[in-house]
């Protein structure tokens, strides 16, 4: 009788594999994707397809080069998720090669060159995003407006979206202005508010097209969709509440503080939470487990740090939205935070800090 000899434990929770976690996160983005497509047209949807295809090809190629089992690693869905998150963050109208570049950089450099899943210190999707934002600032800051407030007054048709993404131009009956996409795009509310050029807040909301209720509402619904997805993940315990709650509260508190001080120039907490990518960032980007903090207490510091950085960059920095940079900056700090935010172990009077031994006398 050849009996199996292995050490305990001898049993494992079934069905909760890494791939399952990734799949659940992917599933949780669907409401956001649907709303985005519904309100702004097919652009995002097409970007997602391009991104996923690129990611799979890049991942397989690198795995082959590294001599790893391709199918084993592709099946963990991590590449798909990275691509999906990046595509969701991109403006719907960017040309295809931009998406491909971003995803390829995310997968090859930010993920695989660091040793693959689990070893990347930075969020790969945000690395890709930051690269594109720095290299191609113009296409990266053009966003579709909600159709009610654009010149076109309708969402771009599917074929037009494809043409736009693959050829850089659209033509034909649907377009009011056949050779430009300006009819469809405008600044995001955050962008518009940032560049209100001396206008008082109230004036800006009254005059700037991007700050019209229809546009603001569109972004509000997108944020709500991501919030719903995030709650779903919390319910499944795929993520814990610490990071998103800390991030959103920190953002709300700091925004509220400045709004109270100067309501004529600063935007309200509500505006900050619902018009940018706050929810998406809080539930889907900042919670990326690999590059974030790992202890519960650490996650609180980490999330709060991101929230504060978002506000700082949005308000005083050079970019309208700041999720990517805020997250990457906190990725830097994550290991350090982890050392200083260890939980208190059973039987110890207090939690240990830092890395030095000694000092703890239970």
């Amino acid at each position: 009788m050849a009996l199996l000899r292995i050490t305990s434990p001898h049993t494992q929770r079934t069905g909760h594999r890494t791939a399952w976690i990734m799949q659940m996160v992917i599933l949780a983005t669907l409401p956001g994707l649907l709303v985005q497509t519904w309100l702004f047209g097919w652009g995002t949807f097409i970007q997602v397809l391009i991104a996923i295809a690129t990611a799979l090809v890049c991942e397989a190629a690198v795995l082959k080069l590294r001599g790893r089992s391709i199918m084993f690693f592709l099946q963990d869905y991590s590449a798909v998720l990275t691509a999906l998150l990046l595509a969701l963050a991109l403006p719907p109208s960017v040309p295809w090669w931009l998406t491909v570049t971003g995803v390829a950089f995310s997968i090859i450099v930010a993920k695989q060159l660091y040793g693959g899943l689990g070893n990347n210190p930075f969020n790969p999707a945000m690395i890709g995003y930051a690269l594109l934002l720095v290299s191609f600032p113009v296409p990266m800051t053009q966003w579709f407006g909600a159709y009610e407030v654009t010149a076109a007054n309708e969402v771009m048709a599917f074929t037009d979206s494809i043409k736009l993404i693959f050829t850089g131009a659209i033509e034909g009956a649907h377009a009011v202005d056949a050779y430009t996409i300006d009819a469809y795009t405008m600044a995001t509310p955050l962008d518009a508010f940032k560049h209100k050029e001396g206008l008082m807040s109230s004036e800006a909301f009254a005059t700037l097209p991007a700050l019209q209720p229809a546009n603001i509402n569109a972004f509000f619904w997108i944020n709500m969709a991501y919030l719903a997805g995030g709650l779903f993940l919390l319910y499944l315990r795929v993520i814990t509440w610490h990071t998103p709650v800390a991030l959103l509260s920190a953002l709300a508190i700091i925004a509220g503080f400045f709004y109270i001080i100067d309501s004529s120039n600063a935007a309200s907490s509500w505006f900050h939470l619902t018009t940018g990518a706050a929810m998406f960032g809080a539930f889907f980007i900042a919670t990326d487990p690999v590059s974030s903090c790992t202890s519960n207490r650490g996650k609180l510091f980490y999330g709060a740090g991101i929230g504060i950085l978002i506000y700082i960059i949005r308000t005083w920095g050079g970019y309208p939205d700041a999720i990517a940079f805020a997250v990457l900056l906190m990725n830097f700090a994550a290991p350090f935070i982890d050392y200083y935010a260890q939980p208190r172990t059973y039987g110890h009077k207090e939690a240990k800090k830092g890395l030095k031994t000694g000092g703890d006398n239970p």
């Binding site: 009788m1 929770r13 909760h16 689990g118 059973y346 039987g347 240990k352």
Partner: protein
């Protein structure tokens, strides 16, 4: 009376309970097995000492093995019958190593020995009852098997606030405690009352999971009926609520301090099975000879709980429960979370066996391939100890042991909750076990190095003191030698040296034998302690771990000391043997014999001193084993070790003097005493320096990073060089002197010296060969059993081979007629570095082999683990290969020279 737990603990998991299967049938009573196998180590601590002999007939309940030290336990015959065997046998232990067992063949009379219950226990003192429990062989039946008397003895020094009875039984599948509580409710409550009498707690709490409603009901009923002052507290079903620390937290909100014991915070925790055993012992006078065990798993069709005599083989129970061998994939002793697998169904049920889980492939599938840690934190949410398992994994993998320790690795109770939830199927607990053992080894090595340092300093001081003394002695010897030449004709001195040599030879043999026995005993004890330690670690029993670690360190030291003694005695006995052999032809040289007799007497004296010192050391060590904390005794031990070293040194000196005299045999000592003394001294110094260097090298090889050792080696090398120079000087002097005397000396002296030397060389060679053969045999045995000593033996073997080679070489040289003293001495000089090189080479080879073997083992263990562990090993391998190449190069160089 019935309460819900007010506190909680962090983390925990909810694995499928799988408890109903084994509760369908009532408590079974399988027929008696043909043979009961009773391991001597069924508990934490020292193995018991057999009280019976093969062929002896014993009655049920008769003690068959007794306490062997403080932390040990009695063992009793589970039924009447005959002892048929006392030998090594497979036992249920994670290590899979065999252990000495008493095998009992039942006579089916089941005839009890006279039982002596403590009817008036309520009037007896705690000490008396604890004594009784100890003689009844009661140990903790929950898992680790900690002797109950030891645990209770701890309560005498503390005021006990809470006596906690662990009835949680949180491991999936196991229902043994549940069944026990249903069947023996009153016995349980009365057993608790005995414990209350002993520990005098302010409160007594039973903690039970809410998935055992029947047991809860019966307990409530029984507590009321017996009017016991016990609170029943129901805790939610969550693994590992039955862990001692977690249950304490659930019931009291208190935490056992890290590295401490429950008794430190005024708590004693006992398992329900132990309470019933206490009842049996006190009320019925029955020792612990049977227990309730769960037979479950899908490979068994009649899953149930059974009450079985200890020693019943698992195979017997499997058959009784109707199992399907073709379905069986994994046989687990204990539960699926913390149990261990066994490969051999012949192992017996012991005092701690609470479950036998015969799982099919579908039930406990092979673990999925390990993926990368995605730092999802699920392990952290599950960890009941409040650790960061993912960080610990990271540090374990990267061998950053200090960081792992700083992240409280040693507070991990190895419950397996983290591994259970990990989505990447990482065998986290396995990594932690590995790291823990690595850290422990390093710690022990550090302790050893400290000891070595102290010893080294002491030795240095001693050697300096002795040098002065020796000088004085030498003066005296010289005078004596001069005197003896005048008495050369006196025949009365003739038989003395022979006899002296013979006596000291037999002396040495006896000491040698004794030492060997002692070494074997120490090794066995050490192995045992290590095994126990592992068990303790696996069960997370930090208290025992600490005691055992102390014990092991001590034993290892002891073993080393004995080994050293043995080595030196071996050399000695060889010397003495040779001396006896050589003595006979010498009888026609009375002049030399006279002076030899003086030194021989000295040798004898030194030997006696050594023997006395060894015996008293042994005595002290024995005492020390019994009372390991006695500082005074420890000091005594150190002093004795010192004394032995002194005695050895004196002996060596005497022997060296003797050998030198033997060698000087042919020379005419009266004529050139000054020069030959200088030569002698130089040679002795050289020999000593060489030995020291060799020793230092060996130590360094064993512990290559030790700066101190390195420094020592360098200083040794310097000394050696100085000694060589001195020798050379002396030799040139000697040669010139010799030349002037050549004419008179040559005819008479050279020949006998050479024949004697030749003879001795031959004997040496034969001895070395025989010794090496022995080592070879030992290696074979070690390989068979896969003992850890293998590497050491191989080193020894290699060193032996090197020695044989050198001996052969020198023999050849002698045969070729290189008879001149000076060239021969030079040859030795040349030989020494070569010999050293050879030894180095052999050592490097052995180390390389060891690493290779380890890597192979790792590879066998599975690809995933290999990925991690071979990393460090590969480095080591490369290092070893480099070293080997270097020694080879050196050897080639010295050969061409």
């Amino acid at each position: 009376m019935l309460q819900q737990a007010q506190y909680g603990f962090h983390g925990g998991i909810h694995p499928p309970e799988n408890k109903t299967q084994s509760l369908q049938l009532p408590l079974g009573q399988p027929p008696l097995a043909d043979r009961l196998i009773l391991p001597l180590g069924q508990h934490i601590g020292q193995a018991s000492q057999p009280l019976v002999q093969i062929g002896e007939h014993v009655l049920k309940g008769q003690p068959i093995a007794s306490n062997n030290g403080f932390v040990s336990s009695y063992l009793h015959a589970p039924t009447s019958g005959t002892i048929v065997e006392i030998s090594e046998h497979q036992v249920p232990h994670p290590s899979g190593l065999p252990e000495v067992c008493i095998v009992l063949q039942p006579d089916h009379q089941d005839q009890w020995i006279e039982r002596q219950p403590l009817v008036d226990w309520q009037t007896l003192s705690a000490t008396q009852i604890i004594q009784h429990l100890s003689s009844m062989g009661i140990v903790g039946m929950g898992g680790a098997g900690f002797p109950t008397q030891v645990k209770l003895a701890g309560s005498e020094k503390h005021t006990i606030q809470e006596l906690i009875i662990n009835a949680a039984e949180c491991e999936p599948y196991i229902t043994a405690d549940d069944m026990l509580m249903r069947e023996k409710t009153d016995a349980l409550i009365q057993g608790i009352q005995v414990l209350q009498h002993l520990a005098k707690p302010e409160k007594t709490l039973i903690g039970i999971e809410d998935n055992k409603p029947t047991a809860i009901e019966r307990l409530q009923d029984s507590i009321k009926r017996l009017g016991a002052n016990i609170q029943l507290i129901v805790v939610p079903t969550k693994y590992p609520s039955g862990g001692e620390k977690q249950l304490i937290q659930l019931l009291t909100g208190k935490e056992v301090p890290s590295g401490g014991l429950p008794v430190d915070i005024g708590i004693i925790c006992q398992n329900v099975g132990t309470c019933v055993a206490v009842y049996d012992a006190v009320h019925l006078g029955q020792p612990l000879i049977s227990r309730i065990t769960t037979l479950t798993g899908n490979a068994i069709s009649a899953a149930q709980n059974v009450e079985v005599p200890l020693g019943t083989p698992v195979s017997h129970l499997l058959q009784y429960a109707d199992f399907d061998a073709t379905e069986l994939e994994r046989l687990v002793i204990g539960g699926p979370m913390m149990g261990f697998t066994i490969a051999d169904t012949s192992v017996p049920v012991i005092k701690t066996t609470n479950c036998i889980l015969a799982a099919t492939k579908k039930e406990l599938p092979q673990p999925a391939p390990e993926q990368a840690c995605i730092r999802c934190g699920m392990c952290e949410q599950a960890c009941p100890a409040g650790l960061l398992p993912q960080q610990l994994l990271w540090f374990s993998k990267s061998q950053e042991h200090d960081k792992a320790e700083h992240h409280n690795l040693f507070d991990c109770i190895e419950c397996g909750a983290c591994s259970y939830v990990c989505p990447s199927s990482i065998p986290l607990v396995q990594y932690y076990r590995h790291s823990k053992s690595t850290i422990r080894e390093a710690r022990e090595a550090a302790v050893k190095a400290d000891h070595a340092k102290v010893r080294f300093e002491a030795r240095k001081a001693r050697i300096e003191a002795e040098a002065a003394e020796k000088e004085a002695k030498r003066q005296a010897n010289r005078a004596k030698a001069a005197a003896s030449t005048t008495k050369a004709a006196a025949p009365a001195t003739k038989p003395a040296p022979e006899k002296a040599a013979a006596t000291s030879a037999s002396d040495a043999q006896t000491i040698l034998k004794k030492l060997k026995v002692e070494l074997a005993l120490t090794s066995t004890k050490l192995n045992k302690a290590q095994k126990n330690l592992q068990a303790a670690q696996e069960s997370g029993d930090s208290d025992t771990v600490a005691t055992l670690q102390g014990q092991i360190a001590e034993l290892e030291q002891q073993k080393q000391a004995v080994q050293q003694q043995l080595e030196s005695t071996h050399v000695e006995s060889t010397h003495v043997d040779n001396a006896t052999n050589v003595a006979t032809p010498q009888t026609n040289k009375p002049a030399i014999n006279a002076s030899t007799s003086v030194t021989s007497a000295e040798v004898k004296k030194a030997k006696v001193a050594l023997a006395i010192a060894s015996t008293s050391l042994k005595k002290v060590q024995k005492q020390l084993a019994e009372t390991p904390d006695d500082e005074a005794l420890k000091e005594k031990e150190t002093a004795q070790i010192q004394a032995i070293a002194d005695a050895e040194k004196a002996l060596q000196d005497a022997q060296q003097a003797e050998t030198k005299l033997d060698a000087a045999d042919g020379a005419s000592p009266a004529k050139k005493p000054a020069i030959s003394d200088a030569l002698k001294k130089a040679k002795v110094d050289l020999a000593i320096a060489t030995t020291h260097l060799k020793k230092a090298h060996e130590k360094l090889a064993a512990d290559p990073d030790n700066e101190e050792l390195k420094a020592r080696v360098t200083s040794r090398e310097e000394k050696l060089a100085a000694a060589k120079q001195a020798l050379e000087q002396a030799q040139t002097q000697d040669q010139t002197h010799e030349k002037t005397q050549e004419a008179t000396k040559e005819a008479t002296n050279t020949a006998p010296v050479n024949t004697d030397a030749l003879k001795q060389a031959k004997i040496d060679l034969a001895m070395a060969k025989a010794a090496n053969k022995k080592v070879e045999k030992a290696i074979e045995k070690a390989k068979e059993l896969d003992l850890p000593e293998l590497a050491g033996l191989e080193q020894q073997h290699q060193a032996g081979l090197a020695r044989i080679q050198t001996l052969e070489q020198s023999l050849q040289d002698m045969n070729q007629g290189k008879t001149q003293t000076a060239p021969a001495a030079k040859k030795v000089q040349v030989d020494n570095p070569q010999k050293q090189l050879k030894i180095d080479h052999a050592l490097a080879k052995a180390a390389l082999n060891k690493v290779k073997r380890e890597i192979e083992n790792r590879r066998k263990d599975g690809a995933s683990e290999a990925e991690l562990n071979t990393q460090g090993l590969l480095d080591k391998l490369a290092q070893c290969e480099d070293k080997l190449a270097a020694t080879e190069r050196q050897m080639a160089a010295s050969e061409t020279e």
